[in-house]
């Protein structure tokens, strides 16, 4: 049987406004529980919501970046359900008249481009956070729950895709591309571990023309867990179909530590949300001039930057992709490429040694003690042959340790490469005198004797000589 996988995603992003969606409480992450709350976000009777202009602007910006049509008129609805993390017992969301719809995002899968339809981007408010207290630490079997409403009312943009993704890998790349765009827009920090970017997925498998049964998977809090959860579901559904069994339409909860998606009963399941227009808010009828102003503020997005990095700096595609993937890396690169050093070399150092050090230290390029100027200087020292590439690696580590500039480290440590031919010649003469047998061997045709001699010269200079220069000089001497 040939199986086809169909995946659609539903993504929630917390917008990084200063205040909440419908009240003036701080929207900052964390804080002592319930200290960012007021009668509005605590759902006290009589309190009234007022929409945050900045949240609307961010929503419009995201919708435009995803090529959506902005609705000339949209309204908010109440989504009613009873759950302790929602103090009003309804969430203000958008329903059948959302902010925007009909967009698309193209993702680069290396061998091909997948165009993914964006059904809609709409605005809503976040819920509070439940902490389940009990021996197991999980929802099931918790003794009781604690509610922190600091998060309740933080503006959210919800992005719904069409079911156009064909594999768990495409889903992962889509989410990464989307995250990268949102970070470029500067409208959310997209920290999956803090919950400011969350993703649910719908996945179905079909063995023939018919559309398969949709299963929703929730609680994936990293790119890796999204991928793993979808691979798990794909396998599970495939083997059920192979056994001739039917797939139950349900919601599953991804359990990262055990690597399984388990069926769950939740607030959502089989619920009747009784949506109705929020009577305490008025419709949004967006002024096209405002929308155009926002469109102008959209910075160069990753796809355009990728193309430019390749044409302007002649970066290889894989290097450019890594740099563009993180806006901070791309910015650092551009500022560093401003120096006299070769941009291609700078790019390679960034995706190679520097990324490795950053990973090891668990810091971002912004937090690292190295500046773009320092990297330019390091690459220049290498290109001028002032230092060897082996030394450059050592100098780089030293920069991370001390924050000193590469040139001052080289001077301090006396690492300057011996490029003075007179000085080198003296050393080569010494080595040839000490190893007359190797000299004779080479002259009688043994090529590897050359390597032996070069090795000894390098040893004598404690690695400070330029190997290709030494090679040229030794060869010249031997053939004279």
């Amino acid at each position: 049987m040939r199986f086809e996988t169909t995946i659609g995603l539903e993504i929630h992003v917390e917008l990084s406004t200063a205040s909440k969606m419908f009240c003036g409480c701080s929207a900052l992450f964390g804080g002592e529980p319930n200290t960012h709350t007021c009668p509005g976000c605590l759902g006290h009777p009589g309190s009234l919501p007022v929409t945050n202009r900045q949240a609307v602007a961010y929503g419009i910006m995201l919708a435009l970046a995803l090529n959506c049509e902005i609705a000339p008129r949209s309204i908010f609805h109440r989504k009613n359900y009873f759950y302790p993390d929602m103090p009003k017992n309804y969430q203000i969301s958008q329903y059948d008249v959302p902010l925007s719809s009909g967009g698309s995002l193209e993702i680069d899968m290396g061998d091909y481009i997948r165009r993914v339809g964006i059904t809609r981007v709409h605005l809503e408010e976040d819920t509070g956070k439940s902490i389940h207290v009990g021996e197991s630490g999980r929802i099931h079997g918790a003794d009781f729950s604690l509610e922190d409403f600091n998060r309740a009312g933080i503006p959210l943009a919800e992005i719904v895709t069409e079911p156009h993704l064909k594999s768990p890998e495409e889903a992962r790349v889509f989410l990464q591309s989307l995250r990268s765009i949102i970070i470029y827009l500067g409208i959310s920090d997209c920290k999956m571990e803090e919950g400011s970017l969350r993703c649910d997925a719908n996945i179905s498998i079909s063995a023939d023309e018919r559309i398969g049964t949709k299963v929703e998977v929730k609680n994936m809090n990293s790119f890796k867990s999204l991928y793993r959860a979808l691979v798990f579901e794909e396998e599970r559904q495939r083997s059920l179909l192979q056994e001739g069994k039917t797939i139950v339409q349900e919601t599953r909860h991804w359990d990262e530590s055990n690597g399984v998606a388990i069926p769950m009963r939740t607030k959502e399941e089989a619920f009747d949300y009784r949506y109705f227009p929020e009577p305490d808010l008025v419709p949004l009828e967006l002024d096209p001039t405002w929308v155009e102003e926002i469109r102008k503020k959209i910075p160069e997005l990753p796809a355009a930057k990728l193309e430019r990095f390749q044409s302007q700096y002649s970066l290889p595609q894989d290097v450019a992709m890594v740099l563009v993937g993180e806006e901070e890396m791309a910015d650092f690169f551009e500022r560093s490429a401003d120096s006299k050093a070769s941009p291609v070399e700078i790019g390679k150092w960034m995706v190679g040694d520097i990324s490795a050090i950053l990973n090891e230290k668990g810091i971002s390029i912004k937090e690292a003690p190295i500046s773009p100027q320092m990297l330019g200087e390091l690459v220049l020292l290498l290109e001028e042959r002032t230092i060897s590439s082996k030394m450059a690696k050592e100098v780089l580590l030293e920069v991370f340790e001390t924050g000193k500039s590469p040139r001052s480290i080289v001077e301090e440590k006396n690492l300057l490469q011996i490029t003075d031919e007179k000085e080198l010649e003296k050393i080569i003469d010494e080595v040839m005198a000490e190893n007359s047998k190797a000299v004779d061997d080479f002259r009688s045709g043994k090529e590897q004797a050359l390597k032996f001699l070069i090795g000894n010269v390098m040893k004598k200079t404690r690695g400070k000589a330029n190997p290709s220069l030494v090679s040229d000089m030794v060869r010249r001497k031997l053939s004279s």
Partner: protein, 94 residues
């Protein structure tokens, strides 16, 4: 308009209420009466009126993104029936 006991049960479930059979009967009758009351409005001729959820004709009421002081934690917790280490405590969810 009549509300059935099943509908009452459904609404109660969504609101996490548990009603006795007797209560379901009472509420079905009372809720039906409330709806009958509202039905009086349908006697008005609305054939020339566009349906709307809004009556003020206002649009785009937006506020600037400015942080206003929140309540003090004492005020926040004032009406909480159950508190655990200064946080709202609720019965276990599942």
């Amino acid at each position: 308009m009549a509300i059935s006991e099943e509908e009452v049960e459904h609404i109660a479930k969504l609101s996490a209420f548990f009603l006795s059979d007797e209560e379901k009967k009472v509420f079905a009758k009372q809720l039906s009466e409330v709806l009958d009351c509202a039905d009086v409005i349908s006697e008005v001729d609305t054939s020339n009126v566009k349906p709307t959820s809004y009556i003020t004709n206002l649009v785009n009421v937006l506020r600037e993104d400015e942080v206003k002081p929140s309540l003090s934690i004492e005020e926040v917790m004032k009406n909480a029936p159950h508190v655990y280490e200064g946080v709202f405590k609720v019965p276990r969810i599942i």
